[in-house]
């Protein structure tokens, strides 16, 4: 095997991007748990841990730039570095969205609406992230397409959830909680719930981006891009 140092750096980049993916997924998991269990300490850890993600992201961005500038990768190697360079941005954004979710967990006084199963939506989004990262590390193009096809289901779940929330808001639905909770506070909680749904949908979108870049990396196929 020629260019041993170069091959080692490519392998390390793959492992580091996979690690960033694991961290981002873990943050989403913790944020969902914090929402579910009203675990303020866990939510706080997710928020404070964002700095670590950002540093890792910048390190990996620099690794990609170094590989491009110093090793001039071509062909499959070039597609791997180019795809990784894009994928780390999606992973960093997923971690940012986990911070949003953790913040909602801190802000929410209580469950404002139990008919919307945030955990079910969150699990679906998180599965997509895990599957996209599996596709990346195992170079599985079928898995890439599977992630993309699952996004429609997630979008449907999110649309239904949003419609339920808005419809019940209009019809004065069964918001739980203190009767003395005034309308303004209800609105804040409802808005936070809508943002939660939107952020989970966006996590799915970033997972699709990861899958799309991975498919390009594997097969030079841009069918999933946009």
């Amino acid at each position: 095997m020629a260019r041993t140092e170069y091959q080692t750096r490519l392998k390390e980049l793959e492992e580091d991007v996979s690690y960033l993916g694991e961290l981002a997924a873990e943050r989403v998991r913790h944020a969902l748990d914090a929402l579910d269990e009203k675990d303020e300490e866990l939510a706080q850890r997710v928020i404070e841990g964002d700095g670590e993600i950002n540093r890792l992201y910048l390190d990996l961005e620099q690794d990609c730039i170094d590989l491009l500038a110093l090793q001039q990768p071509v062909a499959g190697d070039l597609r791997f570095v180019a795809a990784s360079f894009k994928i780390i941005t999606d992973l960093e954004r997923i971690a940012d969205l986990a911070v949003n979710l953790a913040q909602y967990a801190l802000d929410a006084e209580q469950d404002v609406y139990t008919e919307v199963d945030i955990q079910r939506i969150g699990d679906a989004a998180l599965d997509m992230v895990d599957q996209a990262m599996d596709a990346y590390s195992t170079e599985d193009s079928d898995l890439c397409r599977s992630v993309a096809s699952r996004d429609d289901d997630l979008d449907t779940m999110c649309d239904e959830a949003s419609q339920t929330i808005v419809r019940d808001l209009i019809t004065g639905g069964d918001f739980e909680g203190d009767d003395e909770l005034d309308a303004e506070e209800s609105l804040v909680d409802v808005r936070r719930l809508l943002l939660t749904v939107r952020d989970l949908e966006r996590i799915g979108d970033h997972a699709v981006n990861v899958a799309a870049r991975t498919l390009y990396m594997i097969d030079n196929d841009d069918e999933l891009l946009f």
């Binding site: 020629a2 001039q72 062909a75 030079n220």
Partner: protein, 297 residues
């Protein structure tokens, strides 16, 4: 100083004339009086964009086969790069195009290699006339121990080509991006120039005879990065008027300057020939992928 000589065995159209040597007539052994041979035939119909076509070219050096069944079409007014490991036959192929292999006693070429439809290995083709249409620049700058001016007009003189030599020298040096640096010392020795300038002088010498094709055998490998950049810029400019075929060991150079890339691998095999972007982003052949990414071996 006289700039006109008329002693060569080949006479043909004026360098600065408007006639383009666009058919095979320019290749053949010609008569001093009319410059054209009555025995020449009109070119076969060829793809208008293809200037050089290799069809099943095999080359042997003695018992050793250097090229195996090479078939490819080189488009005109473009840069085609030949890459591959040492001994893969890329320079041998380059030398097939202007029959430089004829100069090697043990070399034997089979197959057909056409320039605008005319097989350059036909019996009636004069290699000297061919080399006027297919200029060559070598790895090591090799100006003659003569003045800059005499270097540029050398090919014209030995071929007895008349013309306004002053104009040809200026035009050739301008096209080789050297004029501004040497216009005030045209009669100083070409050997006093820097390596990069010497190589551009050799390019000026090659284009002075108004060729259609320029063959370059690692033209920048002996030059520093600045001189290399100048040669690379020049190659891209030259492709507007000429067809450039360049052999390089520098894959990044091939990626930077060529439109098409041919990848030769050990044993004299042309493994893949495609648009340069395709070769360097998504080659079809795993062997090519392994070679260009350094995973060979």
């Amino acid at each position: 100083m006289s700039h006109k000589e008329n002693t060569a065995e080949v006479e043909s159209s004026n360098m600065t004339g408007t006639e383009d040597p666009t058919n095979d007539e320019m290749l053949v052994q010609t008569d001093v009086s009319d410059g054209l041979s009555a025995s020449t035939s009109v070119s076969e119909t060829t793809n208008a964009e293809t200037i050089i076509r290799a069809d099943d070219i095999n080359v042997w050096y003695g018992d050793e086969q250097a090229l195996q069944n090479i078939s490819m079409e080189i488009p005109e007014n473009s840069v085609t790069a030949m890459i591959g490991p040492s001994g893969c036959g890329k320079s041998t192929f380059l030398r097939c195009i202007n029959r430089m292999n004829d100069l090697i006693d043990v070399a034997r070429v089979e197959g057909e290699l056409t320039l605008r439809g005319k097989n350059v290995y036909d019996d009636d083709v004069d290699p000297v006339a061919l080399r006027r249409r297919v200029g060559m620049v070598f790895q090591k700058p090799n100006p003659f121990p003569k003045s800059i001016y005499e270097n540029v007009v050398y090919g014209l003189k030995i071929q007895g080509i008349e013309g306004d030599y002053d104009e040809i020298v200026e035009e050739s040096l301008k096209r080789a991006a050297l004029w501004d640096e040497v216009k005030d010392r045209l009669h100083e020795s070409g050997l006093d120039l820097s390596g990069g300038q010497q190589q551009r002088l050799c390019i000026a010498r090659a284009i002075a005879t108004d060729p259609e094709v320029l063959l370059m055998d690692e033209p920048a490998s002996a030059l520093d990065p600045v001189a290399t950049s100048q040669i690379e810029d020049l190659v891209e400019e030259l492709a507007e008027d000429y067809t450039v075929v360049i052999v390089t060991h520098n894959m990044q150079q091939a990626a930077r300057i060529s439109d098409k890339t041919a990848v030769f691998l050990t044993g004299g095999e042309l493994v893949e020939f495609d648009d340069t972007q395709k070769i360097f982003e998504n080659p079809e052949s795993q062997r090519v992928e392994d070679y260009i990414t350094g995973k060979f071996g």
